[in-house]
Symmetry: C2
Subunit: 172 residues, 2 copies
């Protein structure tokens, strides 16, 4: 598959839309409307008792309080996914972790968007106090591992489901 053309048709603050054309080895071709996004990280931070989650309003889907993993956009130039995850864990839930493991890299919706998601596990947790980001309405939730199944039931966010289902398998 080879990209043979690209035209930006919308450029906003966060997202960009382009019309792109492709040619395939079989001689065929395709046109795609592609939405570009800087990518993101998410963290499964847990100890022997709890996994750290957040509840926050998600305007895009009309939800007042969606249960999710701590996460953030890759929007700082020069910052690696791991550095971004470490920063977000401190900023969103006030936790510093001594051990980090890269769990998975995936695309959130590869049919039409290029957003990449880097998922990490974080352990050896140390509370460093919450540093709530300006303008964010985030509730920090210490969710008991004994009730992990209920978090999976309540969760309605793809990246968080991947992380919580991984944790469920790890603990099984």
């Amino acid at each position: 598959m080879k990209r043979t053309g690209s035209k930006v048709v919308y450029e906003g603050k966060l997202s960009k839309v382009s019309l792109e054309s492709f040619r395939f080895p079989d001689g065929g071709s395709s046109e795609r409307e592609i939405v570009h996004h800087p990518g993101a990280v998410a963290v499964v931070a847990f100890d022997d008792e709890c996994v750290r989650l957040v509840r926050q309003p998600r305007e895009a889907v009309g939800e007042d309080a969606l249960l999710e993993l701590p996460a953030g956009k890759l929007d700082v130039a020069g910052e690696s996914p791991l550095e971004c995850a470490q920063r977000e864990l401190v900023e969103e839930v006030g936790i510093r972790a001594g051990s980090w493991e890269k769990l998975k890299f995936f695309y959130v919706s590869p049919g039409w968007a290029d957003e990449e998601l880097h998922l990490f596990a974080a352990t050896d947790l140390e509370e460093v106090g919450p540093e709530p980001s300006e303008g964010e309405r985030i509730e920090i939730v210490r969710w008991p591992l004994a009730r992990l199944e209920q978090a999976i039931d309540e969760c309605q966010d793809a990246k968080s489901l991947v992380g919580l289902l991984w944790l469920r398998l790890r603990l099984a």
Copy 2:
């Protein structure tokens, strides 16, 4: 949370972008750039031996052959998510299923996009012959359940990871 304003800034063939403003019970407000998408379905279709997967090019992320669950967009007026899933399973992998279970509803990236994903499990499978959709380069993969862990390793698509991790837990 209440939406107080909305303006469409881009309208394409598949996606639409709007700038929207919101007011919160705490008196604060926010502005969001939101990408709209019609939503989609995905199916975990399996029998005692295999789960049915597909490999297909995904131009948006520059991948020649991404391993995914059979899936499709909710783009037929009046069609329910279940009907869409049943149609897509026949069209993409040539399978009709006797039993359907709704597994999960989730958002693929609720920070900026409104795409909803309806995930189903399908069993009592009957081959009805492949009906490849026009212009789609889809390879049908009968993936042995005995090697499910490797499918999870290879998979790089959020909805498919949710479905395969669910299947791994179901079979454990």
